[in-house]
Symmetry: C2
Subunit: 494 residues, 2 copies
């Protein structure tokens, strides 16, 4: 591993100087840089890559926003911050950070407006079907808010906001946010990898040491350093130590999320939080499992198939014995709109469940008993186990098919997320910060001059994840960190 | 939280001085102190309590040992280190530390002899029934080695070694180890709470600052400080940040496992590992679930009921929706030896499964279909789902009963472990150490002068736990740390 020990300020001869130094130009860094620069601070943003964007630019671009945004209103939904909070507390839980989550929900309408003011547009149309990502340019989508048990704790409203883009829209968000940050005056230094924090005799962070094309380059930050370096899914060592569940699986990242910011800060005594928590995506097709079912290696159902597929994925990969199987009958398969099929074809097609369970290596009777119970209840329009919405309930009858998520999707324009295991993810644990992004030390006290946001920090998440909450909390708390850092009293040279 | 920032050596005027300072007088501290003193080092052991023992002294006293110990041989088992390793890799996994585990298994016969040489005796008799703790003084017990799937990866041999004591035997182990350490020359300072590490200008740990009866007292360690301060189950803040699954549950500890050693070391840049991993015990009765079954809130089985009950507990609490129910029929209940009943009585007694599932709030048919499938296979002497041993397989027939683990045990001589939730546990994550106990920093390099062992460190465990492996690896790696620390070159005063 690259050494991350801090460097003493007395040993540093600075090459560059600014008020606020932002390390990492993904969504959190761009939001922080924009706000700090807009507040009058002299801002430099470093990125180790040849240009800004980071993992954010490669993402789907969904933003989890609500509480009554104009898009929600135009689509006929009367949302409130309280309902948004109640849903996210349940869906991002257990053990979501309620203080951060409360601020995030209360500020969501303003945050939506902030994105619009940065030049993003959102079509005022709802995509009303379960999907990882709509095949349309509709600006609003459900992210499981209308599924049990979440529809019992909060009034359902769709909160997946999508900027107008065909397919993955993360690049567009980053284009606008980078433009905003640089227009506000932030200066970008690319190909510049921060390697160590610089600390003065009082333990205050005063800058960073970096490398650019093999040469050492040093930065002094008069007010603060903001770490927005992303998570650590690209570090095998850190996964091994903190989140081994993702070892060997696909990585949802730009390949540079190696946890360097987390390690640099921890090396000066910063506290971390929830380092084992991860986002997980299993390549199951929402349109297929809602119409059929998802079972574990024993042929047991374990989750309502119409919740947000990220929660289906966690329920499977973290908690159930695999392999997992999407089970569908012919009528269900034929009912799936082609655009929602993502290239997934039926496998293991059999006339009877006895043949199917044998083909899948399950105990005799495993699928037969699960489907018999399911069908008996479906005839009554009920799913007393998981309360899947009645519109998906229908007795399944042969011929049947089973689909293995490890086969992935085949959409033609993008590789399967699964990389052979059917699973891909990223990390959600990181530095322990206040709601203003101040990094805390092991005694629970602020580390002077050090902030963090985005996946370098632990955000609003407990053990669950919903699409759009990482771009969402990265930008929301990145903005707060940038604003707060800009107000710090500048430190004069030692 | 108590501040844990390091203190500069230049600010310290030491009250006491030694070669090796051991912080915490539980099993890891006692083993380290003994070995360091036996190797000729001048040793002081601190403990914050009024006497030594810690959580180890309150434990059951099982030691996970094998590979061909005299007790195993006398009981007719021909064990090998390879079988022990294969079992533990599976049962302590996924993601057990294989390097530490290999040493632990290869050194296990010697480690057993070390305990005998310290004065512990072990009756050469096997207790041959599933139990959290035998009601006898038999010196050997199964810890799930003979249950599927573990019996498919390693030749089964019982490895739960129990020193001769009635009931919980941890106090006896600690009595012998404390006696050994003090006889070898280690000096004990009780009522002394270490609060901060002392670090010199080169980042080397040279001592600790402590408090005794409100007064500051300082210790210089010429060779090394060994942190054996235990885990962090007694710190609500640390549980909230790292292992929230245990929040609100019972704590298996002496009440003083607040993670202070982990925080002190992390404050000087020590790396931590697997902070989310925990031991969990659910108050289910092995003798009851082996004869019946354990189901989740949906009436589904999810684990072979004859694996070690700690693994049953993890499978339930970490992965299944509760409440959990032990299901038993009259014949099965009557078959349980009274001494294995631990005061547990049948509840929710009904003639039919339909009545029982209704009483438990399960969907109609939930238990009926689970038991029908179970019975159909049991008639053939098979359990194709979980391969429970054939000796436990018998079709269940009414009247039936369900028992809620939240009711706990009622053995008369000790409180239920469950404390109302049916769940109690302790933490397994901690400082990242080498096999010799050297604490590593965030760059993966040794922190000079700092060692750790026991639950202050991350040991052999992945996500699973088996009784006797915490006392086992605490003493085993405590010994290695003590020996290695004693060989360090003493640092002269600055």
């Amino acid at each position: 591993m690259r050494p991350v020990e801090p460097v003493a300020a007395s040993l540093c001869d600075y090459d560059h100087e600014c008020d606020v130094l932002v390390v990492g130009f993904g969504c959190a860094g761009a939001a922080a840089a924009y706000e700090a620069a807009a507040a009058g601070a002299d801002v430099i943003v470093l990125d180790r890559a040849g240009g800004p964007g980071g993992s954010s630019a490669m993402s789907g671009g969904e933003l989890y926003l609500g509480g009554g945004t104009p898009v929600q209103k135009a689509c006929g939904f009367d949302d409130t911050p309280e309902d948004m909070f109640a849903y996210l507390r349940a869906a991002l839980g257990p053990h979501a950070d309620e203080e951060k989550l409360r601020l995030y929900c209360d500020g969501s309408v303003e945050h939506f407006q902030w994105f619009r003011d940065r030049g993003l547009t959102f079509n005022e149309r709802l995509y009303d079907a379960p999907s990882w990502m709509p095949p349309t340019e509709d600006g609003l989508m459900w992210l499981g808010e209308n599924a049990w048990p979440y529809n019992t704790v909060a009034r359902p409203a769709p909160r997946g906001h999508r900027p107008t883009a065909a397919g993955f829209g993360g690049w567009l968000i980053m284009e606008k946010l980078v433009e905003a940050a640089t227009s506000a005056g932030a200066v970008s230094h690319t190909d510049t990898l921060a390697t160590n924090l610089v600390v003065d005799g009082r333990g205050r962070v005063t800058g960073v040491v970096a490398r650019r094309y093999g040469a050492r380059v040093t930065y002094r930050a008069r007010k603060a350093v903001i770490l927005t370096t992303g998570g650590f899914v690209d570090s095998e060592e850190m996964l091994e130590q903190h989140a081994p569940v993702l070892l060997g699986h696909g990585k949802v990242s730009d390949g540079l999320d190696d946890g360097s910011g987390i390690r640099m800060a921890a090396a000066i005594g910063a506290a971390t939080r929830r380092m084992s928590v991860v986002e997980i995506a299993l390549t199951v097709l929402p349109a297929m499992i809602t119409r059929g079912m998802l079972v574990n290696a024993h042929g047991q159902r374990f989750v309502s198939e119409d919740v947000y597929p990220g929660l289906v994925s966690v329920a499977a990969v973290q908690h159930q014995p695999g392999p997992y199987w999407a089970i569908i009958d012919e009528e269900g398969y034929e009912d799936i709109p082609r655009r929602d099929l993502w290239g997934v074809r039926p496998e293991h097609v059999t006339e009877t469940l006895a043949e199917l369970e044998e083909a899948l290596g399950m105990p005799p009777g495993a699928l037969e008993s699960t489907v018999a119970t399911y069908n008996r209840h479906a005839e009554q329009g009920e799913d007393p186990y998981f309360h899947k919405d009645a519109k998906w309930l229908r007795p399944l009858k042969g011929p049947f098919a089973a689909v293995d998520p490890r086969l992935g999707f085949n959409t033609g324009d993008r590789e399967s997320a699964g990389a052979g295991t059917g699973v891909a993810g990223f990390t959600l644990g990181g530095l322990h910060t206040t709601v203003d992004g101040v990094v805390l030390n092991l005694s629970g006290e602020p580390i002077l001059g050090l902030y963090a946001a985005g996946r370098a920090s632990s955000g609003i998440h407990g053990e669950g994840y919903i699409s759009g909450t990482s771009l969402g909390d990265g930008t929301f708390f990145g903005r707060r960190a940038g604003r707060t850092a800009a107000q710090e009293t500048p430190v004069s040279r030692p």
